[in-house]
């Protein structure tokens, strides 16, 4: 009968393995704290392998010549996040009914602690986001970043731009003062001037032939649920493609010829 080979003994079974921490495990409170954090993160990572994805996203290689203009996309994203957070808190006080909306905004501005500040962040932040998105679009356009293989990311970007404008339009009605009311009437009627579908589009926006009881809540739902959800989803896809494809080098950075690269490799050795 064939016999299994006996495994070789560990080289030195008597010395215990090295322990974490400075000497033998954590001793100072700081070390205990760090240990607890590491344990928690490890626990999650062991069950999700998230760190691999994070490393893939955060520690990408970027081309030579990457400069401040490449931060405009992230700046747009932070503007959106700011809008999302301030918007959620405004929703705690805002009342989307035709008879109560104006008063609820006045209440936010005049009575609620930090209300005018948060409302102001949301109001001015909307313009900031629109400015940033156009600057980012200009950056990708002038750097030729829309070319193969990044056309789809440009198309997604256009969808994000349209939805950002939709956010501006639907949000403008919500204060429900004279300016926002009439500006929305005019805006809806501009939609209506599209031949054949226009009249139905404006009826869809108003929920009927007149600016009615549910127009405001319809705009509110579009503004706070429908479009932001779609923007967040598309933003995720946009960023996935950025990480997957890598970013474009600025047009003034010339690609090295393969010969030069080979020479460099050899000299590196």
């Amino acid at each position: 009968m064939a016999k299994l080979k006996t495994p070789t003994l560990p080289s030195n079974p008597l010395t215990s393995p090295k322990r974490p921490g400075k000497a033998y495990g954590p001793s100072t409170p700081l070390e205990h704290g760090a240990e607890a954090g590491i344990t928690a993160v490890d626990w999650i990572d062991e069950r999700t392998s998230l760190s691999g994805g994070l490393r893939w996203m955060m520690f990408r290689k970027v081309p030579k010549g990457t400069n401040w203009f490449y931060t405009l996309g992230s700046a747009t994203m932070f503007a959106f996040l700011s809008q999302a957070v301030t918007g959620v808190f405004l929703a705690m006080y805002y009342d989307p009914s035709a008879t109560r909306a104006y008063e609820s905004i006045q209440h936010i501005n005049n009575d609620v602690f930090l209300g005018e500040f948060v409302h102001g962040m949301h109001k001015w932040g909307s313009s900031v986001m629109v400015i940033l998105i156009f600057l980012h679009m200009g950056r990708t356009f002038f750097f030729g970043a829309y070319k193969y293989p990044r056309e789809l990311n440009w198309v997604i970007g256009v969808a994000l731009l349209v939805m950002t404008m939709t956010m501006s339009f639907s949000g403008y009605l919500l204060p429900f003062d004279q300016r926002s009311y009439w500006a929305t009437i005019v805006g809806v009627n501009i939609n209506g001037t599209g031949p054949l579908v226009g009249p139905y589009l404006s009826e869809f926006l108003r929920a009927g032939p007149y600016f009615g009881a549910t127009t405001l809540s319809r705009f509110y739902a579009i503004h706070m649920l429908l479009v932001p959800g779609a923007i967040a989803a598309l933003m995720g896809f946009h960023l996935y493609l950025v990480a997957k494809l890598g970013t474009t080098a600025p047009p003034w950075v010339r690609a090295k010829s393969p010969d030069a690269l080979r020479e460099q490799k050899v000299s590196d050795l």
């Binding site: 009311y181 009439w182 809806v188 009627n189 209506g192 009826e203 032939p209 007149y210 009615g212």
Partner: protein
Amino acid sequence: MTEHKESKSKYTEDRQIPGAFEGETVTRRRAMVLGGQVAGGVAAAAFALPALGFAVGPIFEKQDQPWQIVGNTGEFNPDSYVPRTITLVAGIGDAGKSTVYLRKYNPDLDTEPRDEYNSYIAISTLCMHLGCPVRFTAAAQRFICPCHGGVYDIVGKVNGGPPVRPLDRFYTRLEADRVLIGPRFSVNSELQRFSPRDPGEPLDGVGQYLYPSRPSMRKIQGT
């Protein structure tokens, strides 16, 4: 590769699939996949279609436009307009109200034939450029829009600026000596009646076909 495929029979029985029935051509795995996808599609449609109907439903709903009293016959004259506030949409406060300008039919001004609905002329204040509220300026005998300089003459025809058709009107009728105002209608540059359109939608030429009337609001039959 193709050779291998050709040698395969379409019957699962011939392919030696365990538990195959006679004459069976679709494998059970394939049937399950299809079934799962169909079930998923049905489940998604079950919430997506009602939600969509919910959102677009109001387009096809007929809007109520009840007749409202706006005053007594003695309050209006044939030469100038008197403003009255009417309710277009009930229950939403000021946002549902609108101003209407009224005067008596004047054979010197009004060219359209008399009928039961126009012994009083009721002009809507919705500008036919993009919907701002116009105001009648008695000194100029004109309707003037504050937004982009739209100007209309005393019967509501376009004098200048961007509006694409004359001001809309409302049907009026008499009940004893009270003047009632009813549904809105639109007019082309000859002041012929059309089902109500939104501002910015011309009615001359092909306009009435490019901007169809909608089920939510129609003019009174036969007028």
